[in-house]
């Protein structure tokens, strides 16, 4: 059956990379369309009129938006190499932590790396206190993930699952933010399991092939957000 799968995304976005990782894991062929986010294509605006954002998956002309919604759609449409477990409680658990990563972790990480550097100049002391608070918050959030990993190789168990894919921001992009901003967050001494997981994660073929070049990404973030929040 002729099938057309399009992915509208951006090279540096962890969200569109998630979609590509899932498709790659399941061996699904697709066409990738790189969007210039400063000049969005008419196709993107047509396929995602509500949010006008990437990623969008278009399957035989039908668009799906929002990366976690797309991951679930992919899993339900192509049954090989399932990324969600069968047990309803385990599924709920994976969804919970994926949502946690998106809603709590990312903004906290950004704040810790670049928070006080945005906007107006702040007094150094005040910026320092805010920075410490932000770093502490990230630490608490990462601790939850460290505990959730337990003795598993991946969040999904023996193979990568939806939560591992959703955690690509932690597994790869976090390291990039750290290097770009000079702020250390995911230390081996505090988070040995999470660090081990990150190392394993980026080695999985379907994941590795979908990671944007590190140097290019670091340069991009440095350029966009400045040299970062590291103690001066």
């Amino acid at each position: 059956m002729a099938e057309e799968v399009l992915v509208f995304g951006a090279w540096g976005s962890p969200f569109s990379r998630r979609v590509e990782m899932a498709l790659k894991l399941k061996g699904i062929e697709y066409k990738f369309i790189e969007e210039d986010l400063t000049n969005k294509s008419p196709s993107l605006l047509k396929y995602n009129p509500v949010h006008k954002k990437i990623p969008v998956l278009v399957h035989n002309g039908k668009p799906v938006a929002e990366s976690l919604v797309i991951l679930e759609y992919i899993d339900e449409t192509w049954k090989d190499h399932p990324i969600l477990p069968k047990d309803p409680y385990e599924r709920a658990n994976a969804r919970f932590w994926a949502k946690f990563i998106d809603e709590k972790c990312l903004s906290a990480i950004f704040k810790a790396c670049w928070g006080a550097c945005w906007g107006e100049e702040k007094e150094h002391e005040k910026a320092e206190i805010e920075h410490e608070k932000a770093v502490k918050e990230v630490s608490e959030l990462l601790q939850f993930l460290e505990n959730e990993l337990k003795e598993k190789r991946y969040f999904g168990g023996e193979t990568v699952g939806l939560l591992d894919i959703a955690a690509n921001t932690i597994g790869y992009w976090l390291g990039v933010f750290e290097e770009a901003s000079g702020v250390e967050l995911l230390t081996r001494e505090k988070f040995p399991k999470l660090c081990n997981w990150a190392n394993e994660f980026v080695c999985v073929t379907a994941i590795k092939e979908n990671l944007p070049p590190r140097d290019k990404l670091i340069a991009y973030f440095r350029n966009r957000f400045g040299a970062g929040n590291a103690s001066k």
């Binding site: 759609y73 709920a92 969804r95």
Partner: protein, 218 residues
């Protein structure tokens, strides 16, 4: 299934615990309800939801679950009668999309319209109306998001009609306009008329009093 195997920790005015009540009622699931005092959260709540420390929490066979939309999906997967989500993956994706849109875009705008003043409130009202209009497009002309009967999005977002109306009364600005959002307006009315939906709602006068009191704090 025994009543004590399913427990719901909630709060009487919270629409989030209301959604879970609706889902449990729709599927005929017996459960024990525990009312939480949000100013004095129980050790049980803090133990069951250490990440957010919020209600609702569903506890099934001693296993806790948090986040209302995740709880709804869980309920749908464990108890198959009266399904909330459709079977087709594309329709399911649409349902998840709209439930998320309602929570992420409609609700914060409503909350801002309720709690802000002056220009900020004007902006929030405009945004709320725009987002509600967008939500209306998700109905695709159907009576309910679930079609002829209620489904996932109806349960996830149907409460917004009542709260938006109440907010409009309190702030003196109409948020749901039957002229500009006729389908949404009908949907909210039809949804709130459904017996099982009505039965679980907190008493309207008490809810209004509670919201009015909350409003004085802003």
């Amino acid at each position: 299934m025994a009543e004590d195997s399913v427990k719901l920790l909630g709060y009487w005015v919270s629409p989030y615990s209301l959604k879970v009540k609706w889902a449990l009622k729709l599927k005929g699931i017996q459960y024990q309800y525990v009312e939480e005092d949000l100013k004095n959260k129980s050790p049980m709540l803090l133990q069951y939801n250490p990440v957010y420390k919020k209600i609702p929490v569903l506890v099934h066979d001693d296993k806790p679950l948090a986040e209302s939309l995740i709880i709804l999906e869980y309920i749908d997967e464990v108890w198959k009668q009266n399904p909330l989500l459709p079977i087709d993956p594309y329709e399911r994706a649409k349902a998840r999309f709209w439930a998320k849109f309602a929570d992420d875009k409609c609700v914060p705008a409503l909350v801002a319209a309720f709690s802000k003043k002056g220009e900020e409130q004007e902006r929030a009202v405009k945004e709320a109306r725009e987002n509600l209009k967008i939500l209306e497009s998700g109905l695709e002309g159907k009576r309910f998001f679930g079609g002829e009967t209620i489904g996932f999005v109806d349960i996830a977002a149907g409460w917004i009609g009542c709260w938006a109306q109440m907010t409009g009364e309190i702030i003196g600005i109409k948020l749901i306009d039957a002229e500009t959002m006729p389908l949404l307006d009908s949907w909210f009315q039809d949804f709130l008329e459904i017996p099982l939906i009505k039965e679980c709602m907190p008493p309207q006068d008490e809810l209004l009093e509670h919201c009015k009191e909350l409003h004085t704090k802003f």
